[in-house]
Symmetry: C2
Subunit: 294 residues, 2 copies
């Protein structure tokens, strides 16, 4: 911690930890939260030279870009935010603050619009009365349900252990009046045959079209393929990464999330994400439409 920067450094550490440890937001939501916290950091920066604010802010932004390596949306949205800050000219701390506020607000809105537009494109794949299966919680897929709730669609959704993000989706679908079957992750192979389509979000879309998403997505994709049920990845272009299968880091979370006492010779494992290879994906949807990687 640098001298005289105690408060600022401490706030930066808190923000980085908030983003790193978050288990409740999807990648798009978390990317927006990161931007909102960068704006908050700027607002709370103590009065001092422009250079110092500027440097601290850029350092925090770069740090946040790295704390969620499985979520390209976080690094990408912050990257866009940083580019705007760097390419602008400002001559006072107040002007920088104003720029940060505007930039943050615009990018958050752009992210929300991208999710809604992606959901609208995804919705075109679903016909009235059909059954949609999904895994974990994706704000894009949830938005599809909101848009289609009136069309007598039904849902099959998984718990998604250990975080049980599926429980949150279950509550939202119940509120929307969507008839929903709620299953353990292990039952995905039993119920996929009842789905007309599988829709999943993504935390990252890799360069070759492989999909980084909550652990269990790959198993659902295998089962969908085995039953010839179409499997679509729905993710706005902010989630696109230049990385390939072998470069992406799959985040490991606290193993205390897994309910079992510690035992000799036993290691609990808690990788939160898996990779669904592009060959198992029927199509990809972003804000512009459905596309393929052929």
């Amino acid at each position: 911690m640098r001298e005289g920067h105690g408060d600022n450094q401490s706030l930066a550490d808190d923000i980085a930890e908030t983003i790193r440890a978050d288990r409740t937001h999807g990648a798009s939501q978390l990317a927006r939260l990161a931007l909102a916290l960068l704006a908050e950091f700027t607002r709370h920066a103590p009065q001092r030279s422009l250079t110092r604010i500027d440097t601290d802010l850029v350092q925090l932004a770069q740090r946040l870009q790295q704390v969620r390596p499985s979520m390209a949306a976080v690094a990408n949205l912050i990257g866009r935010w940083l580019s705007a800050i760097r390419s602008a000219s400002y001559e006072s701390a107040d002007a920088l603050c104003a720029l940060v506020e505007k930039n943050t607000e615009e990018l958050i809105e752009a992210s929300k619009r991208a999710v809604i537009a992606t959901a609208e494109q995804t919705g075109k794949l679903v016909r009235p009365g059909q059954c949609i299966m999904t895994h974990s919680y994706s704000s894009t897929v949830n938005q599809v349900f909101r848009q289609l709730a009136e069309l007598e669609i039904s849902a099959i959704i998984t718990e998604s252990q250990p975080g049980c993000e599926g429980a949150q989706l279950a509550r939202e679908l119940s509120g929307l009046g969507v008839e929903t079957r709620y299953i353990t992750d292990a039952q995905a192979g039993l119920f996929v045959k009842d789905a007309d389509i599988v829709l999943v979000g993504a935390d990252t879309l890799l360069a070759d079209g492989s999909v980084v998403n909550k652990a269990g997505t790959y198993l659902l994709a295998l089962a969908a393929n085995d039953h010839q049920i179409p499997f679509y990845a729905c993710c706005e272009s902010f989630k696109q990464s230049d990385l390939n299968l072998h470069q992406v880091e799959l985040e490991a979370m606290d193993t205390d999330e897994i309910t079992l006492e510690n035992l000799p010779h036993l290691q609990k494992q808690n990788l939160y994400f898996d990779i669904t290879p592009a060959r198992l994906v029927s199509g990809w949807v972003n804000e512009k439409g459905v596309y393929s990687y052929d």
Copy 2:
């Protein structure tokens, strides 16, 4: 309930419910427990005519054959037990009781020997230092671990929600000193690549070689196939069924086992077993050796 049969009928009901509701025993263990409870029923039968004991006993045995439709071992072992009773001649209730005791003991021993012999055959597939992956709890696979624990083998095992039979296996492997990774069911696709071989037990082996086992087995088989990791079903011949894929009933259990409040428009589902098609199975092991269905 028939007049004068109150106590007997009540005991029969208790026994049937014990077997029906059991969540802690594998199919082989439960089949042996059913036999032990039939013997207990005979011992506790009130003094009365041979015909009545005989009838009650056969009725209970037939009832127990039906309460676990996904576990062929239960019906099969009881079937063998019934055949022995029926083909024997006895002229007193005491003689029947003695016959039941002897028959029960012999079949329980035969079942245990079959499990051990199957585990011995299975062990031949594993080389020292290799990593075995499994799902749920199988007494046969557990016996394989006991036999091979000295050979520096390691294990990857799944929780197996909602019953978490994997936790029991974890404790036993820890006791054996087998280095074990313990994962959520959803992570099976992430870790299968680290296994040299996948071994699963079975609750029922269908006529065409398809394997009825704890839900999630099919997903693990798909992932093993996708990674070209050999996948073996290890089950003594008591688990063989004449039924095919479309005839077997997959038992549904209490949905209260799934942690989520009841919500409008939401149905929790708790199918305990799934079917792994024979095409995903590299080989089958019983007490005589490894075989195929070609």
